[in-house]
Amino acid sequence: MERRVKRGVAIYSYSGEYGRTMNLEDCFKDLRDMGATGIEILANSHIDSYPALTDEYVAEWMRLCTAYGVEPVEYGHWIDSRLYRNREISPQEAREKLVNDFQIAHRLGFRILRTKMGVINAELAPMENWREIIESVLPEAEKYDVVMCPEIHLTTVLSDRFVQDYVDFINETGTKNFGLNIDLSVFQNRFDVPGVVVFNPDCKHSQPEEIIPLLPYVKCIHAKFNKMDDDFNELTIPYPEILKILTDYGWEGYLLSEYEGEKKDVPGFVSHELRKQHVMMKRILGY
């Protein structure tokens, strides 16, 4: 069977333990146990010299990737539009930080960037000048061979206008350096399961088939999960339907696990939940 859909982990999942009871190598050890072959790091969290990149970090990064058989998949970074209390950042200020992130990502071997933009409303629509900022760095994105992907995340639904705006931007500019990261939280249809952390119980959600027209633009998927049962089912997001669509339509890329449930700060808890989720994904994928 062709294995186009691959499994990885966003080590954001370990944020309740990272730097306290787990270090970077512990994350890699977990990935190897799960047979996960790809990793997402957050620049602001997991690079201990950020916003600089030291030779020591690069050497250690390369050692870990080689030793544990893991490839760099996605590099999370931010456009902090409200960097200052009293004003929005200028496109030039955004550009300087973006280009720095491109250089770091490139040196660490990442091609896909999860570019988290500042938002202006409850639907998480991006700041109004996002086109200007993104267009201004497209030449550098091409130079460093990176693809910026805004993350489409609950409380957004796939039918929201700005999702189509991103697609239109890609088509109008013809750029290969902008795409989408779909977070599976957009399909979350249960908010009443004990152990699920809910900020907005009235949240809308998308149907799995709504992802189909977007698939050509989707570079990466956050395999968001909130609650696993002991039969290896996720209780809030329709994983079987979603993964069937991905395989049926021949989508190629990584599912990067992102745990968003309770007890993140209980040592070992997230590691255990991740293993359950990867059992589920292996069973559904058939490999």
Binding site: Y18, R20, T21, Y50, D80, R82, L83, V119, A122, L124
Partner: protein
Amino acid sequence: MLEADVIQYRGFRNIERDGKAVGFQICVRSDYYRGVWLSQLRPGKVVVDGVTYPKEDVIWEINGKDHTVAELAEAGGEFWRITDVATLKIMKDGGLSQGFHDVSVRFAASCSYMPPFLDQFDEDGDDRSFNGGTYTRKNMIIV
């Protein structure tokens, strides 16, 4: 590795000059999953044994450099990593007395990817927001 509590036991001591205690310091880790630019910090008050020190009385040492809260607000090019502590320094003649102290530190971080109406924090208040609040650790010891 850092301690699980935001307020760390390690680093809590008096600040001495010429052999005399002139103040005290408290080390905190970030309670946010990502490091932030210093201008994104929302530094608040410190309370020790019921005595409130307003935010303007607190010096934040990050990456070996001292910042007033006014300076933090402009420091958009400097970064506080989640694996590093910030050392909060407060001048007080004689420092804190030997023995137990209950310590609270209030701060948060601004977060541009949350809706603006949620990205709010009252530095001088007592409520929690999604991105910060008042952290307390009791029975901290000055030796």
